[in-house]
């Protein structure tokens, strides 16, 4: 197990605290550990879990945020998944959706595949990347004490926000959300009051 050198948050506690403060947010998870964290915090109809489509969480959330401008949309993903779809930060910045927040749980490693080091352990600064792409409201936190502040920004819907959360590179027990993508999609749409086609 590799520890980040500096202070780092416990991923499960962080996600649980954040989601507890945002019961109405629409949540999109990147595949892997981030989706387990969100599911472990309590399954909700307004969670959309990805089990594949790596790199797609932020783009999917952009389409959702534009379609639902009066709801707060929250992406919870990992550094590896975000890196694979890194250009989407430019796409999001170009649109400046007021209701989209991206939370990257960054342990500097590819947790799902054997804890190989990721680019964020090898020199990439995700906050600088997000700012460089044009998401001005980007910053880094290292403990769950910041959840209240993040939640208030999510609820305020004042512009796209990017938060890198430095977490320990541990592997909490698996908590597996439903893998049936049709079920999760239909449940999510029904919670928004949308009818089948």
């Amino acid at each position: 197990m590799t520890k980040n050198p500096a202070k780092a948050a416990n991923r499960r506690q962080f996600v649980s605290s954040l989601l507890k403060a945002l019961p109405d947010a629409l949540v999109v998870t990147g595949l892997g550990s981030a989706s387990y964290d969100v599911f472990a915090a309590g399954d909700r109809d307004n969670n959309y879990y990805l089990w594949g489509a790596m790199g797609g969480s932020t783009s999917l959330a952009l389409g959702l945020a534009l379609a639902q401008p009066d709801k707060s949309v929250l992406v919870i993903t990992g550094d590896g998944e975000q890196l694979m779809g890194i250009g989407s930060l430019a796409t999001i910045a170009a649109k400046q959706p007021r209701n989209l927040t991206i939370i990257v749980l960054d342990n500097g490693h590819f947790g799902e595949t054997g804890m190989q080091r990721s680019h964020t352990s090898l020199g990439t600064d995700l906050v600088a990347v997000a700012k460089g792409f044009g998401i001005a409201d980007a910053w880094s936190v290292d403990s769950e004490e910041h959840c209240a502040e993040i939640a208030s920004r999510v609820a305020a819907r004042q512009g796209p926000t990017f938060v890198q959360v430095r977490i320990d590179a541990d592997e909490p027990p698996r908590a597996l959300p439903p893998r049936d993508g049709v079920y999760v999609k239909n449940r999510f749409r029904a919670a928004l009051g949308l009818k089948p086609f």
Binding site: L62, G63, L64, L66, K95, G181, L192
Partner: protein
């Protein structure tokens, strides 16, 4: 209708008409000359969000997210972009998202650039391998009907459909600047 030399070809105007009448609210794109009228029209339309992508696979996820949130969205790209999308297409079949994309073809008709050939020849096969039904429009007079048929299959029947817009519609690209 304007009669200036900048008037878009009628088939491009027909495409935007189908999308607009079909209540498309988001148009995600990697640009192409053949899509230029639809992109300009989307930018000018206050009821349509235009979303410029850094790579086409983002668009597969964007239009799925739009549907999740109750809006119809379409993806515009060139044939080369289909190759960039292949794994992201798994999102569509894994969750049964309706999907509609318009693909301008390269590498198939008087193309000056041999680098467009490999993906152009593989475009239809790549789409079909990933479970996307393929229609093709090569006659300007038939573009509207074929686009409408694909659009309806996507959003009335929940299908995944690509319409390939033949390179002959766009014509020869001029490489010499004068």
């Amino acid at each position: 209708m304007s009669e200036t030399s900048t008037t878009a070809p009628a088939w491009q105007q027909d495409i935007f008409k189908v999308l607009k009448e079909g209540d498309v609210r988001q148009i995600a794109y990697v640009p192409d000359a053949g899509h230029s009228h639809v992109i300009r029209s989307a930018i000018a339309d206050p009821d349509i969000q235009d979303i410029v992508l850094t790579t086409e696979e983002e668009g597969v996820a964007v239009v799925s997210g739009a549907w999740l949130g109750g809006q119809r969205a379409v993806l515009l790209m060139q044939s080369s972009g289909v190759g960039n999308c292949v794994n992201m297409f798994s999102l569509l079949s894994s969750a049964n998202f309706p999907f509609f994309t318009l693909v301008t073809m390269r590498g198939e008709y008087a193309d000056f650039n041999p680098w467009q050939g490999p993906m152009g020849r593989a475009t239809q096969g790549a789409l079909e391998l990933m479970g996307i039904a393929v229609l093709r429009a090569s006659d300007p007079a038939q573009v509207e009907e074929i686009v409408r048929a694909g659009f309806d299959a996507a959003f009335e029947a929940g299908d995944r459909v690509a319409v390939l817009l033949g390179q002959n519609l766009i014509g020869r690209k001029k490489w010499e600047r004068k």
